[in-house]
């Protein structure tokens, strides 16, 4: 079987999962308070950030520290559990399909779900910004290119984290511990971004990237320049390591 057909089968498996409405719900919950409290964006003189940028960045900060990691964990549970019910995974492993391709296809599905979450959030941002502009009589809507750039940064910085969570969900068979260890890693990420070793901790990447974007836009805050070395090599190594290991271990506990 070619990789493309394996991938299309993986997408069919999650077709009726109703995960997209859940992402939509999370995005609405994210932007609703910002729309109601849109007037606080005008009181950011100390930080020196324009109201429309503050509106966007606060929402992105809100999603990058908890909701994006959490929804990636939920997606790993979705991908694994739909196969485990009725022993579907045993039948898949009995077929003459390469387990490496199978694992990679599932990981790609995970990335697509993470991208869907970011796209839905950006879409809801435009609705929220339009409503806030109407209420406050001030244009909160930012050019699409800028919003796209921020969303793309958020998504790309989440890839190493997704690889790590994917590895956890494959290597730890007891769901309590694979989910639990993921969440336990999410909680201290706020503390880790203030340390020098943040680049070694993939879960903190999205939050760190958005925080630096915030400091770039706000003239009142010292701009923390993101150090690409050693970040990019380390992130790349972690990602490759997690993917290779998860491909090696995929399905091993069933044999």
């Amino acid at each position: 079987m070619s990789f493309i057909s394996i991938l299309s089968i993986e997408f069919k498996k999650i077709r009726r999962s109703k995960i997209l409405p859940l992402f939509l719900l999370a995005s609405v919950i994210l932007w609703l308070p910002s729309v109601f409290n849109a007037d606080i964006n005008f009181k950011m003189q100390a930080e020196g950030i324009l109201p429309e940028y503050n509106f966007l960045i606060q929402g992105f900060l809100g999603i990058s520290w908890f909701m994006l990691p959490a929804s990636i964990i939920v997606s790993t549970v979705l991908i694994n559990q739909t196969e485990r019910s009725n022993n579907g995974i045993l039948k898949m492993l009995a077929l003459p399909v390469s387990t490496t391709w199978l694992c990679l296809a599932k990981f790609l599905v995970l990335l697509v779900l993470a991208a869907a979450q970011v796209i839905i959030m950006a879409g809801v941002y435009y609705i929220g910004a339009a409503i806030a502009s109407n209420i406050q009589d001030y244009n909160f809507i930012l050019p699409p290119l800028f919003v796209f750039k921020e969303s793309a940064l958020l998504f790309i910085s989440a890839i190493p984290m997704a690889a790590l969570f994917w590895l956890l969900s494959i290597c730890i068979k007891t769901p309590v511990f694979s989910i639990g260890s993921g969440f336990i890693m999410v909680v201290p990420s706020v503390l880790v971004i203030n340390t020098k070793a943040w680049f070694a901790y993939p879960v903190s990447y999205p939050f760190y990237v958005i925080t630096t974007e915030y400091s770039k836009l706000a003239s009142g805050i010292d701009t923390t320049k993101i150090q690409l070395i050693p970040w990019i090599p380390v992130a790349f190594l972690i990602t490759v390591f997690c993917i290779v290991l998860s491909c090696m271990y995929f399905g091993r506990s069933y044999r």
Partner: protein
Amino acid sequence: MGFIIECKKVKRTGFIPAFICAGIFSAAIPVINMAVRHKIYTSSAGSPVNILFNANWQVMAMLNMLAVVICACIIYNSEYAGNAMQKMHLLPVHEGYMFLGKFVLMFLMCIAILAIESAGIMFCTDYWFGSGSQVLYLVLKSFAYEMVIMVPAALSALFIASAFKNMWITLGVCVVCIFMATMLPMDNFILSLFPFAMPFQVFAGTAEKTIQGFIAASFIESIIIIIAEFLLIKIRRLFE
């Protein structure tokens, strides 16, 4: 009877170790925080319990909530995974009592997790503030309060878990609820009554009237959720 069977069911799911691990991890948070930044905290005014709770409780409560949610997922997933639920329907056991049995087990684990955390807080007050045993009463009262306001959250996590067959829907809905709880303003009483937002409240330094309000709300919400669960079981029977 129902409770003992529930204890046996969770034996190999990692339910109890998960709670104990979460407890130890969250008890370590104030200790690590104090070890790193004790100069800031010991020099600030106010009672030690107050300072410790203000500095750490948000993160600790978050961990408690995540532990409750994950364990609620697993405790019902073990019923749904191998169609055990259908077999339960044939037995002369009411599904509602199963829910209550699971809740009692969960509540006991919540007490365990809070006990571990109070030991962590006690250690901090004793080691860095040198307050000895005089704060013991206040710490115990704080954790008794946290125990009471955690009940609606535990019940609603179990309610969501019992409503959905797929574990990931339960997890997704509960995670969205926790996310919503973190987005709600803490000082608004009405909005803080959301079951998942209540455990983020702090005992020390809160007005007596607010505390009484939260305790009353916790009882009322718990009763409403239990009634809702019994209704859900009845309604679901009609459509199966």
